[in-house]
């Protein structure tokens, strides 16, 4: 009986194989995902659009208020939004939905996600929309240009805006929505008491670590949360190759990169630093600790400022004051800090009016100073517009910045001051693999104690091989 079962299965497999051979022939469809604005722009027709995001309930309240504002101008555009869990959940769900043509109209995205969706050519390019001069009449009788004016484009923080063009073809695929970066948190009380100055370069950082080790030998002076960010930021600061959106994708196996990895390995072995994976928890735990092993500097997300603050005393004061600064640089005159946080992309639909309506909605949210200000204050993220600084509520928020109760404002302030420094990495299908590989590569190399050079060489080669297998 069993033999028969196996035989039947083998037969079935072969039959299916033939089926598959037939099923594989499909007519090639239009390959271009490029969106062209139809004559007349938005025709005022009633459309319903969906927006996938990862907002929690506190943020969707803000969104609700602004959707209501938007509907005053465009009552025929109905916006439904869904919070779909984490960024990865969002990506996985949309990737599945695309295969049946069921994707949303607008979604939160990271560049990697856009590269993935683009395998199906379904992300609408925004260039024609941005440059469109069509006039749209709103419900209150006023008009607006469908595209972006030069002033509007100039108002975006440049590094954030350029993230949408990281796909190797120079076309614009996403708009920045709300951003964050990495900042250096330091124990200001401790730094002031010991006359330590805040490091601006990696060399200074090394010296500061040595200084701190001398004062408190039981400490780990620096905690760095994201190994992957660290590696990528270093390549950016040195100007050494990391990845490329076109041609040979994985370029990070080079001497310059090995050199800084080796330097950090030495620091690690001197007990200067730890990372999230090596420490086994967010390094903010070490930074906010008041007894035992602790750290005095922590590099982490600017959106997590409140977690870098120690627990308040009974009287509401804090055991130490938190200072926030730009992360150390290779060359402080040309600073580079990573740009993170969600952008939004618009998906192709058979009805071009849906795409235009989606654009109007995205444009409304990303260029609306009040929304950007309110959303930034509620989320801890940084607004993407420069002019938000002139918004009264936001200006008050920034002015209240301190190292205690208003640490989130302090973090936002530092982020806004370094607006020239933001960079984004090329995005292609496989760029997320590169990111995770360099992260584990750096982690692996930090802890090496013997035969370091050879092991570093091997780790780089391994990481490249893994990346190439995945693509």
């Amino acid at each position: 009986m069993k033999k028969r079962t196996v035989a039947i299965m083998l037969l079935a497999t072969m039959l299916l194989g033939m089926l598959a051979a037939c099923g594989g022939k499909k007519n090639p469809e239009n390959q271009a995902g490029n969106f062209t604005v139809p004559e007349g722009g938005y025709d005022g027709s009633a459309v319903e659009i969906t927006f996938y995001n990862t907002m929690g309930s506190n943020l969707s309240t803000v969104l609700d208020a602004y959707i209501a504002e938007f509907n005053k101008l465009y009552p025929n555009i109905k916006v439904n939004y869904t919070s779909v869990g984490s960024y990865d959940d969002c990506r996985d769900q949309i990737a599945t939905e695309i295969t049946v043509g069921n994707q949303p109209n607008v979604a939160y995205c990271y560049p990697d996600h856009v590269a993935l969706y683009n395998m199906a050519h379904v992300v609408a390019t925004l260039d024609d929309l941005i440059s469109s001069k069509e006039t749209v009449t709103r419900a209150d009788g006023t008009t607006e240009t469908l595209g972006l004016t030069d002033e509007q484009i100039a108002d975006f923080i440049e590094g954030y805006y350029n993230e949408g063009k990281q796909f190797g073809d120079g076309l614009m695929y996403s708009m920045p929505f709300s951003k964050s970066t990495e900042v250096l948190y330091y124990n200001k009380t401790f730094f002031d008491a010991n006359n330590i100055s805040v490091p601006t370069t990696w060399d200074e950082l090394e010296a500061v670590c040595a200084q701190i080790k001398a004062i408190d030998p039981n400490s780990i002076p620096l905690g760095y949360d994201s190994e992957a960010n660290w590696f990528i930021t270093m390549t950016e600061q040195y100007g050494s190759p990391y990845t490329s959106a076109t041609g040979d994708h994985y370029l990070f196996d080079n001497d310059q990169n090995k050199e800084f990895v080796k330097k950090f390995n030495e620091w690690y072995n001197k007990g200067y630093l730890t990372t999230q994976t090596l420490y086994g928890a967010y390094t903010s735990g070490l930074f906010t600790s008041l007894t035992g092993v602790r750290s005095y500097m922590s590099i982490g997300s600017s959106a997590g400022a409140t977690h870098q603050r120690p627990a308040a005393n009974a009287d509401g004061t804090y055991p130490f004051e938190v200072g926030i600064a730009t992360i150390p640089q290779v060359d402080p005159s040309k600073p580079k800090v990573i740009s993170q946080g969600p952008s939004v992309c618009i998906f192709q639909k058979s009805n071009p009016q849906e795409v235009i309506a989606s654009w109007l909605f995205v444009k409304f949210l990303t260029t609306n100073v009040d929304f950007q200000a309110e959303f930034g204050m509620a989320s801890g993220y940084v607004p993407v517009l420069k002019s938000v600084a002139e918004n009264e509520a936001y200006a008050n928020f920034i002015n209240s910045a301190d190292g205690g109760n208003f640490v989130a404002a302090l973090s936002a302030k530092v982020c806004l001051e370094q607006e020239e420094a933001y960079y984004t990495s090329p995005a292609f299908n496989g760029s997320s693999e590169a990111r995770s590989q360099v992260g584990s590569l750096l982690t692996k190399c930090l802890v090496l104690t013997s035969d370091v050079d050879a092991q570093i060489d091997a780790a780089f080669a391994d990481a490249i091989a893994e990346c190439e297998y995945a693509s």
Partner: protein, 314 residues
């Protein structure tokens, strides 16, 4: 022998199951085979109208992957360790539970409790129990903030703490933690099935053994185990099938790195490999890996069936 009335009746009874299975199980399987035989098939590219060559490239790529044997090895090791351990433990607990009166119901409830929880939360708890928070293990600068409750217990009894899951931890320590977690997870179901079987055994066998003065151990090996053998066979076979699909438990402890930080993917399994392929939208490769896994499970199950045919007493 087989009368025609029974024939159509049987098919009638099976009809709802068959219809649903055809749509929601058989068709997906056919589609899996199709995708596995199209070179570098990707669902997203297919949506865009890309064409794929017919061939065995996906299978070759999977088998030649440098970590393929590692995935296979991990899967097998975990399977062959956890299935016997959890089955024997479950059997002991079920027999012990069946032999007592006082507290029986309460204890029974406790042993079934793991069923009614969310695996996310439990994974977090286990990781916290084994996790060392600190840095520089094994170096002269060693700093340990908290060694985790398990190490605290070991130290309490005079031992030295063991690096279970953090960097620098040994493969054996990693596997040990996984075995503990998987066994913990597998116990309730096995106890449930085995205890149900035990309570179904006719008390007369035991009374007869009592009259004859048969020693406890003989009663266990000569009455309990044989009469329980269908349930045991069932528990072992489903245990193996589940064991070969191990994945989420490893993510629960080690996260997506599937290993300690200095050896990412060291504990990756076959299903983990399938997930990796799916996340880069290589459904062709994922399908091929799934079919390879299927073939392995099929062989193991056939062997299991052969063995149990000789041993199981219905």
């Amino acid at each position: 022998m087989v009368d025609s009335k029974q024939q159509w009746k049987a098919w009638l009874y099976l009809a709802p199951a068959i219809v649903l299975l055809l749509v929601f199980t058989v068709w997906p399987i056919i589609n899996t085979v199709r995708m596995s035989l199209l070179e570098n098939y990707s669902g997203l590219q297919a949506t865009a109208g890309a064409q794929f060559q017919f061939g065995l490239g996906n299978f070759l790529k999977v088998v030649r992957y440098r970590q393929f044997t590692q995935c296979l090895k991990n899967t097998c090791i975990l399977c062959f360790l956890t299935v016997p351990i959890s089955t024997i433990l479950a059997l002991l607990i079920a027999v012990a539970l069946n032999s007592i009166k006082f507290l029986q119901k309460g204890l029974q409830t406790i042993f079934f409790l793991p069923y009614v929880t969310n695996s996310i939360a439990i994974g977090m708890v286990f990781a916290a129990m084994f996790n060392i928070v600190g840095s520089f293990y094994g170096t002269e600068n060693e700093l340990i903030v908290t060694a985790g409750i398990i190490n605290n217990v070991i130290e309490f009894f005079g031992g030295t703490h063991i690096n279970w899951i953090n960097y620098g931890s040994s493969y054996a320590a990693n596997i040990f933690v996984m075995v503990v977690y998987i066994v913990w997870n597998a116990l309730p179901f096995k106890i449930l099935v085995l205890l149900g079987g035990l309570q179904g055994i006719n008390k007369q066998y035991y009374e007869a053994a009592k009259v004859d003065g048969t020693p406890r151990r003989r009663v266990f090996t000569k009455i309990t185990v044989p009469l329980l053998s269908p349930m045991l066979a069932y528990v072992v076979i489903t245990g193996f099938i589940g064991g070969f699909k191990e994945y989420t438990s490893i993510v629960g402890i080690f996260g997506e790195t599937m290993g300690p930080p200095d050896a990412a993917k060291r504990l990756n399994t076959m299903v983990g490999f399938i997930y990796d392929s799916l996340s880069s939208n290589s459904q062709g490769r994922a399908s091929a890996a799934a079919l390879i896994l299927f073939a392995i499970i099929l062989v193991v199950t056939l062997i299991n069936n052969q063995v149990s045919k000789k041993r199981v007493h219905y």
